[in-house]
């Protein structure tokens, strides 16, 4: 099979021998491509073909992966049973399955077998047609999915509003060499899901989507594709995929900037608050049993025990093989041992960051990093997985991750401020802290409780026992407010809140001096408006976006009360939420 396309894929980093001609699972995707495209393109090209704006179908194994496995099992059971019954009918033998015998004698067996067969056929046809009808396309502007036979659904996501792209490979899908690609846009459960795609194709497709979204032109993006070629038979490839590191080596620097070693991971789970709760509950059970002498208390707490084990297990699997690395299209976070997930967050999609330290992690000096993003999953486990950026890490890890997600905090001065924000003893520093009269409201933490502006982020430092530092990039801040109630007013105090999109972090700092809060409110408000205008991260690579925004800022500076009929603004295509 000659391949004209293969020569077009120019920038091959290391020339490799021709890939072996075994059937590839990704090839199956080509069945839907136009006939003239049915020559085997390289994988990267294939991603480009998938992102060409035409309608494509998903991986043929999709119906089985999306719950069809149970269906297969049912068919299997029916066939095995039917075979036994047939054998008995032919060779005699009376230990047959009683209901079948009775049905046979009543003459119902044939219609029932026919009905079962019909149902089976209909389901197979249903699966087939649902696969046929489930199509997606990726154009320069949007990603769109159509699905459903009777009830059609059609979902579109705009590429410039992508909040993250997630590739997950549940264990079954990995065996089939398939992956689920999720394009998250802002909103509750606002994701466009492509389940399932060929595993290698998914990585390339993600790169293609990110390139389209980043604002580079299509031609450039085609050139930027680096084809990743693989040799070996299908089995070999499966094995290598299963063993491969979670980061796609073509797209990311091979090593993650943080490594969580197993002892630390287990230590972080053992010394977590959940463990303390579990121990308390266990002691409670023990006391209850010894006092009452009844063992049924064990049953009462069984669900709790199961829940706890499940929680530990999910935290463990979420953190195994954890990796975080920077790519040119954002941060890539991968985790998972059997079922793996790896998510790319384009620049400027992180709305708030919290670095916190559970009490018992303090001797070890471990920290956890959580984030707020605009796309939210409705189920709590997904949310927890998505919002925990660094499950556990020491101070160096924290600084590395913070530099990655907030590059503007990379300089020396910011680092000092960050360290002051995380340390316990730094009291007379750049942070504006609560006055002494706030002691009644912040017993231990009044000296720590404070805020500062670090580069272009607002930093709120809280807590002496449960220490945390909340960082909100000004460019992502939605609004800022100050509050006082009767008590705070009497004490001359006030509370400051920085509003971000919903998430586990709430950027609130209470019990601050009123004058300080009013000053900071003004300062933050001004800074927020400025950085919001200067921000171009929604099209992070496009020069146009930069220019447009510069021009916009200049305009805004010139004419302060702007009229509605601003022609340039009205025509500006680089609009985002």
């Amino acid at each position: 099979m000659t391949d004209p396309h293969e020569h077009e894929s120019v920038p091959i980093p290391e020339p490799r021998p021709e890939p072996a001609r075994e059937p590839e699972p990704e090839r199956e995707l080509e069945q839907q491509l136009d006939a003239e495209q049915l020559v085997a393109p390289t994988l990267a090209e294939q991603a480009r073909l998938l992102a060409d704006g035409e309608w494509h179908r998903l991986h043929p194994a999709t119906p089985f992966l999306r719950g069809g496995i149970a269906f297969l099992a049912i068919i299997g059971v029916i066939i095995v049973n039917a075979r036994d019954i047939f054998l008995e009918m032919i060779f005699g033998g009376d230990n047959g399955f009683e209901p079948f015998d009775r049905l046979a004698r009543a003459g119902f067996l044939v219609p029932i077998v026919l009905i079962v067969l019909l149902v089976l056929l209909l389901s197979v046809a249903g699966f087939y047609f649902s696969w046929r009808m489930h199509t997606f396309r990726i154009t320069d502007e949007l990603v769109e999915v159509r699905s459903g036979i009777l009830f059609r659904t059609n979902r579109r996501g705009r590429l410039d509003r992508i909040q993250g792209i997630n590739i997950s490979r549940p264990i079954f899908a990995r065996l089939f060499g398939a992956a689920r690609l999720e394009v998250n846009v802002a909103g509750q459960d606002a994701n466009v899901e492509l389940a399932y795609l060929g595993s290698r194709g998914a990585d390339d497709l993600r790169r293609a989507i990110l390139q389209l979204a980043s604002g580079t032109r299509a031609a450039e993006s085609a050139e930027a594709q680096a084809p990743g070629q693989e040799h070996g038979g299908i089995v070999e490839r499966r094995v290598s995929e299963l063993l491969a590191p979670e980061l796609d080596p073509n797209a990311a620097p091979p090593e993650s900037i943080v490594r969580i070693r197993l002892p630390r991971l287990i230590g972080s789970l053992v010394f977590s608050e959940a463990t303390v709760m579990a121990i308390l509950v266990a002691v409670g059970i023990f006391v209850a049993i010894t006092v009452t002498g009844r063992y049924f208390w064990l049953l009462v707490f069984l669900p709790g025990v199961l829940g706890f084990v499940g929680y530990l297990f999910s935290r463990l699997t979420r953190s195994l093989r954890y990796s975080i690395a920077s790519t040119e299209d954002g941060i890539r976070i991968g985790y998972g041992l059997l079922s793996t997930t790896n998510e790319t967050l384009p620049p400027g999609r992180i709305h708030a960051v919290e670095v916190s330290q559970p009490l018992m992690w303090r001797p070890a000096g471990w920290w956890e990093i959580k984030i707020n993003t605009a796309s939210q999953a409705s189920s709590s486990t997904d949310t927890a997985a998505k919002t925990t950026l660094l499950p556990v890490g020491d101070l160096d890890d924290v600084h590395r991750v913070l530099q990655l997600i907030l590059p503007s905090l990379a300089d020396e001065q910011s680092r000092e401020l960050l360290e002051a924000g995380l340390s316990a003893s730094a009291h007379d520093d750049a942070y504006v802290t609560s006055p002494k009269r706030a002691r009644a409201l912040r017993w231990f933490s009044w000296r720590r409780n404070g805020y500062a502006l670090i580069s272009d982020a607002v930093a709120l430092r809280k807590g002496a026992i449960w220490r945390s530092l909340v960082l909100v990039p000004q460019a992502r801040m939605q609004s800022v407010s100050m509050h006082e109630g009767p008590l705070l007013r009497r004490m001359g105090l006030a509370e400051l809140r920085v509003h971000t999109v919903a998430g586990p972090i709430s950027a609130t700092i209470g019990a601050m001096d009123r004058g300080d809060v009013v000053d900071f409110f003004d300062e933050v408000g001004r800074a927020a408006a400025l950085s919001a205008g200067a921000d171009t991260s929604h099209r992070w690579r496009s020069e146009n976006a930069m220019k447009a925004h510069d021009a916009q800022n200049a305009r805004a500076a010139e004419e302060v009360p702007v009229a509605a009929e601003d022609p340039v603004a009205a025509d500006d295509p680089e609009v985002i939420l």
Binding site: A374, Q478, S479, H483, T500, D566, I576
Partner: protein, 161 residues
């Protein structure tokens, strides 16, 4: 009592004083319904001290009604160069600043009492649910003008999410 939380050099635009009518009306209706509902047990059982519930409720509502004009005067907004600032509350004072570019949408609502006195309520929605800028008691004309101004300002200072 000490001064309230406020910006230093603020020129607040107040809302229509007619809004007090709306507030008082709403409070009267609510108070009447709640007092009546909580008074039922007293009448049914005949126990005298149960009457304390509707009476105290009534007093709370009356105090609230008495404070309404001041509370309405405490509501204010301000269109600054780059952001909209909104303030409300006597006891629990809240001041919010929202950059215009953060606007996702502007709502104008009119309740039945609002309509009776020709007022509207303007709601400025951002991507953060906690922003909560709701300017009540704007004359209909003003509310629509303000909405158009806000949309125009948001257009010129458009920002990402």
């Amino acid at each position: 009592m000490t001064e309230r939380l406020d910006l230093r050099d603020a020129e607040w635009r107040g809302i229509s004083t007619k809004y007090a009518v709306v507030e008082v009306g709403g409070l009267l209706i609510m108070g009447a319904i709640l007092s009546a509902a909580t008074a039922i047990p007293t009448f049914v059982t005949g126990i005298q001290w149960l009457a304390a519930i509707p009476i105290s409720l009534g007093i709370i509502f009356l105090i609230n009604i008495a404070l309404t004009p001041r509370r309405v005067r405490a509501i204010g907004y301000m269109l600054r160069d780059d952001d909209l600032v909104f303030r409300r509350g006597l006891m629990f004072r809240r001041v919010v600043a929202v950059p215009y570019g953060r606007m996702q949408l502007v709502d104008i609502n009119r309740g039945p009492l609002d309509r009776a006195v020709g007022l509207s309520e303007l709601k400025f929605v951002t991507a953060a649910a906690s922003t909560g800028v709701v300017i009540p008691g704007l004359p209909e004309q003003d509310a629509e003008e303000l909405r158009d101004t806000l949309v125009a300002l948001a257009e010129s200072r458009r920002a990402g999410l």
